[in-house]
Symmetry: D2
Subunit: 327 residues, 4 copies
């Protein structure tokens, strides 16, 4: 194990609220431990383009509450090639960077794992994505904030749905993962939730809606995860409209506003703990691991394990409960 | 002029934040003046279906901060026929209602004008719509709140746009009116704004975006009013993408969340003043008028005038200013 | 174990965001399981005053997002006497109530434990308090929302602190418990945090502030839990002012706004799970227990255990981390 | 009239939401018109300490939504002396600054007026204060945002007031001016409002509260402006408690959170218009004036007039209306 003097930190993949709070924690923990800290801009692309900047305590002042990422993020095809990684490593070495903290999702982890293995570079990863689809942590960074953003939007939609006696289909983010849809659905009191992980046919859905109508519900909200099997909110609405005319039907796709916003208290604390733990783990000689929240404690998971066990951690009890509580 | 003993209040057309605050003001002002107050549910449909309920002070307690309308709103085709209005009038008379306060937009006013003229029923209207497209008032009820909702959403989108160096097209409400788009565009610091009232070709837009790129802007937001002439955000994005590849391009349609939410301070005060003024005007013998805010004072406008002068009150200086300030 | 047919639900002690979401879950779960559900108004006082009302599914519609408690809450001295409890029990029996779900804190649990033991009445408790000071659950209902409310306020205060180069002392709720102060302090990036559970003298505090000033910090925020040992924010400010003149000093007491507001996604889900679990536990024959969140699962804790182990669950690592991250 | 080449902009006095949006408008309008723009840090103190920095378009990117002021603000005793102003002028001249835009309140205007008169320096002022106590404009910068912040806080307090059947005294900012108290009181549906501009004795207040209690109001909110004549919220609460025991009584002082936060749409637009108008007026040869919003248009007012007519623009009709609507 080589001595670590200079640590690079970067964000990669989709941005998530809390990334800045995590960058702050990484930088200040490193400085406290006497290390030099470098920000790498635009993720792996920045390694190739030499977008490095030294970071001191002031560099991360007043960012704990900011959405997005001050280090920016980007996709980088070149890094997927051995030549790209060779160039990235060369640039990192020239800069004197001898360890990395990577904040992002599955793709970010894969890149970090390869670079670390090929060039024996210590890396520690932090799960940052609003989708909560990563193995080894109960909550990913940004998931709590995104869920709050979604329910604030649905609370507004509920106002107008109730005023007009309407049925709303609200599509939320989460390509392969119904985590946002499920939690937001429970928290918003949605009448039904359609997820990628569950087969819910249009007939099942209509049955639920009819049960609601029988109970004299005059408005309803259905949450639809974008990766759901019936083809998205517009398609579901179309099919439902053919067979069920009880309500006036509207569709809303919440879109990218789900990614932004000032992080919640939960995400700021999680970000701080994860960033702090990641640097401490690196210094303690750990590498190729992901920090994660399990129960109330920080745990390390092997990156290969995190990557290979893409998580389907739907809380099944929530699904059943959500239906009972909406009746 | 007959004596008014019992006043009916209703909301009609699209719901808008502040309608509940206005209902509260109407009911409590009427009660204070010794009148009986009746809530008519679901607008004109409720007159036909006899959906009346007596309202006391408690009926409107703790609603000043609620979005939507507790009296609900609905479209009513039947009221557009003379037979429908005859039935509505008969039901109102049976209920003892001898004057009306109507909260809504153009369509609501037209119905109120007809009923009032045909049956000599005193009516007073309040301009309630998020679109701000009514003549005779500087601000309609709900417009300020909707604009705040839009900029909060765009602030979130800006986080992710800036993190990814993206160009976002954000579509906002306002069928014939660019009022929300214009004010939200200025307030959100948008790089361009496309309105129904202005011809802005794709080439003009690309020119602006290129000017921004020349200035090293790495992300941009374009606001698009839904009634704009190029066919909406998706079409604009498609056409821009063909000729301008500087940024990664994304589209968000904000949708119905713009209608809901707790009303802003501005809208609660406006709603209170308008409701208070409407009842006082009725009692003073006024009829077939709309209360409106002009400068800082309440003014009455003839309903026919309000209806025939559908407003295009775009503040032209804002348009030019918004471009200069985004450079 | 007797058969349960009719379940009463009530809130008691200080109100907390999420109580309504929990009432909704209790009522709808009970109805789903075929039970009759009764709301008891104003806690134990309502048992004595016979403030009972039958609750159906509609009674709890559209309350999941509301702060406060629709069943209200009150202190009740009479219930602390055997005579008071005898009367309460008599009234509950007359109403046909044969089991109770109590939502509240320590005092609520003590009352429930006594009534249950004295009259063999099945009771299940839900930990509802913003203070997070209860044993047997990682999070109490309302704690997450209150922490979000606090950091939103501090984010605003930070704007003005930074503009004026000021030092702000912000006092937050938590009589015996520093939970809100600690989490809010970490999440708001506070320069120091004073807690009831820790002795932090004025000199220690000044040392920290001087360290910040040496680092060219131009503004600072110190979070002070109301039960802290130096006598509250005004006293701390006074003592600091005598010895440390680097900044202009201001004090803000956040006060009761911390209790209200629409519950966060986290609290709505927690409330739903706890209410659902409480009714299911009652039906399964459990009694005199508290439902709690441990890790990601619901657990039952004996009421006596919950009451006797008033929790001091400060996360010590957070304290140290918060200081390092603020440097 | 001399040619203007380089314009300095600064903020002074208490900070207000929208100041950053105004700085952005001033800088970008100036740049668009071909002028050099300089930011002066910490108001008049910065002129004395030579805290100048050149500002380009990037300097004001992404600040339209930020509370506080990036140029900071400070009190400056030295500038009140002729020697101080002489030094300030000397420094401004050395920097090449030949005109000023000042954003602030009464004190800021007085300083600008003196400097301009003594040294023939063109100045244009923008009314920036949350208190809305300036003559010549219907709304000052930050007033709308502060009012929204206050009602959001009171909405939360109402949750807990209603749950406990309590009477809350909420003290809001406004030393000589009851503007915030009045508008927030109307918008929050307060049962009574105490202002510096009106004598409202404790007996009058108790009479109102008793009227509410007679109407079976179970909770009440009284808004108290800090400059009110009975000595502030704690004193009022004490005196009321002696004679009126209907409710449990609590006090909350909202404090400095009222100054911060992201500006509302209204304030961002007002800030943009005012900044834009100020620079255009300077270039057009105007000096020693304040830009203001009158009705919907920008107007210029002589600084001396603005200063000598400290505004008492309480909308009297609101006061009476607020009482009627709370019954």
């Amino acid at each position: 194990m080589s001595v670590i003097n200079k640590i690079g930190v970067f964000t990669s993949g989709g941005d998530a609220p809390g990334m800045n709070a995590c960058i702050r924690a990484v930088v200040r923990t490193g400085l406290y431990l006497g290390k030099q800290m470098v920000g790498i801009h635009q993720g792996y692309q920045g390694m190739i383009d030499k977008k490095f900047s030294n970071m001191d305590s002031k560099s991360v002042a007043h960012i704990i509450q900011q959405g997005g990422t001050i280090l920016k993020t980007a996709r980088c095809m070149e890094f997927r090639t051995p030549e790209g990684r060779a160039l990235a490593y060369k640039n990192l070495k020239e800069e004197g960077i001898d360890a990395l903290v990577a904040i992002g999702g599955d793709g970010t982890f894969t890149g970090a794992e390869l670079l670390s293995r090929e060039y024996d570079m210590p890396v520690m990863c932090v799960p940052g994505t609003i989708d909560n689809d990563l193995y080894g942590t109960d909550f990913t960074l940004g998931y709590d904030t995104a869920t709050n953003t979604v329910i604030e939007a649905i609370d507004k939609i509920r106002d107008t749905a109730a005023s007009h006696d309407r049925l709303f289909f609200v599509e939320v983010m989460g390509r392969d993962s119904g985590c946002i849809a499920l939690r937001a659905g429970v928290a918003a009191g949605a009448e039904a939730i359609l997820l990628p992980e569950k087969e819910t046919g249009i007939d099942d859905l209509i049955e639920k809606l009819e049960a609601g109508a029988d109970q004299h519900k005059t408005s309803s909200i259905v949450i639809i995860a974008e990766g759901e099997k019936n083809g998205g909110a517009y398609n579901v609405a179309k099919h439902v409209k053919e067979k069920f005319n009880f309500y006036d039907i509207k569709v809303t796709i919440l879109g990218h506003l789900q990614r932004g916003g000032t992080p919640s208290s939960f995400d700021r604390i999680l970000a701080s703990r994860m960033g702090y733990a990641a640097v401490n783990a690196l210094i303690a000689g750990e590498t190729r691991k992901m920090v994660g929240l399990q129960g109330n404690a920080m745990h390390l998971t092997e990156l290969t394990e995190a990557i290979n066990n893409h998580s389907f951690k739907l809380e099944d009890d929530l699904m059943e409960m959500s239906y009972i509580l909406s009746l």
